[in-house]
Amino acid sequence: MKEISYYPGCSLHGTAREYDDSIRGVLKILDIRLQELEDWTCCGASSAHCTDEELAIELAARNLAIAEKSDHELLVPCVACYSRFKAVEKEVREHSKKVYFPYQGNVPIRYALDFFCDEAILEQVKKKRVKPLSGLKVVCYYGCLTVRPPKVTGIREYENPQHMDRLMKLLGAESIPWSYKTDCCGASLMITRTDIVRKLSDRLLSTAKEAEADCLVTGCPMCQANLDTRQEELEKETGKKYDLPILYFTELMGLALGHPDARKWFRRHVTDPIKILSAKGLM
């Protein structure tokens, strides 16, 4: 049985619980054992690097040092944490940055979407798929930090990434071409400049609706929260009707792999996905 280390990050213990639950569920079906890092702490997220870059490096490095005690890959589902970890890895590896915690830059840091798009995993998914997501039209929303900057992420197709689209097709869904897949949602401005987040969210939601998507798929807790939770207040402001479920890609993986808890994950969403999934005969 393959084993990997796991850094859930703060969101997955809170507002993104369904992401955490669905990752654990999918990995169980794929026979991969998850070891949550003991005593992990916050990576510093968007606030530390805005305040003090040196502090940001230490906050992230502490967790990487814990991960480096084992020789497993480190699975990171939150793209903000992932981006911080990769930035610190680059500092240590390429600029010989000395950090306080014993971290040498040797942990393979894997963002969850990249990890699940590995050939070996896709092969397993293909074999174990019991409920193809036939008839479900999705737009794949990568957002910013899953692909940018490429010197940190190593993604080649950073203007028009395709890996999530390929994964969705493998699950049996129809992935619709959409020009907004790497546009920003406003990220951590969600609480302070909600007006900006609303404007950017409106553009993403409206264009996804124009593309006739049944749902939008993401792998970022901040994008998910921004797009899922504010649809009702946006509808009042713009007079439009969105009603567009915002799903984590791992939730759709779990559904296609026949995980019994999928309904529980979907119940945590503010914009209900169960309605459309039932109408498509998928639940």
Binding site: W40, S46, L145, P149, L189
Partner: protein, 188 residues
């Protein structure tokens, strides 16, 4: 129109050389193609556009830059950085400028955003991890905006997305040590 005939010499411009050194970016190479601003999703809310920001840096306009809204509005999406034909990581420069602005003690151009970051870091310092409810309560005490998003908070609580208590673990003490050293200046 901005003056395009400025001579950019970091040696004669202490603020420019400070930002070049801290960010590691070759700001003097910007030739004002404006691709950064064209692709910036939040440019409409900025008081200085990203390309103008680089010009101000070349001129050495320290106060103008550090007291701008722009450095706080930037959402760090890196669209500018990947499209710059001169390979200038504009988003990284914004980080450097935010760091410098906070250290300068100048009044920030945006109020709530730096307050959010400081409350966020306080939460990490005291708890080691972000507990969303504690973060929001602290933020509301500082911004005095008690009713904003209250309805949304309740909706999320009902769906089990907001935990009442922080999780228990032991790493918090090490985090406090890091913060203490940074505050004393012994780690810089």
């Amino acid at each position: 129109m901005m003056d395009l005939n400025v001579q950019v010499n970091p040696k004669e411009n202490s603020f420019l050389s400070e930002v070049i050194q801290a960010s590691g970016e070759k700001i003097q190479n910007c030739f004002q193609c404006q691709k950064c601003s064209a692709g910036c999703p939040v440019a409409y809310a900025m008081d200085i556009l990203p390309n103008q920001m680089l010009r101000h840096l070349q001129y050495g306009h320290r106060e103008k830059v550090l007291s701008s809204k722009t450095i706080w509005i930037c959402a760090s999406c890196y669209a500018c950085s990947v499209r710059c034909p001169n390979n200038i990581d504009v988003a990284k420069i914004m980080d450097t400028l935010r760091n410098l602005a906070l250290r300068s003690g100048a009044e920030p151009g945006e109020k709530d955003i730096p307050t959010f970051h400081s409350v966020f870091l306080d939460t990490i310092k005291s708890k080691g991890r972000i507990h969303e409810l504690s973060l929001l309560i602290q933020l509301k005490l500082k911004t005095k905006d008690f009713f904003k998003d209250a309805g949304l908070g309740w909706k999320m609580f009902r769906r089990g997305k907001i935990k009442l208590l922080p999780s228990r673990y032991r790493g918090g003490k090490e985090i406090q040590e890091i913060f203490n050293e940074f505050e004393k200046g012994t780690r810089r």
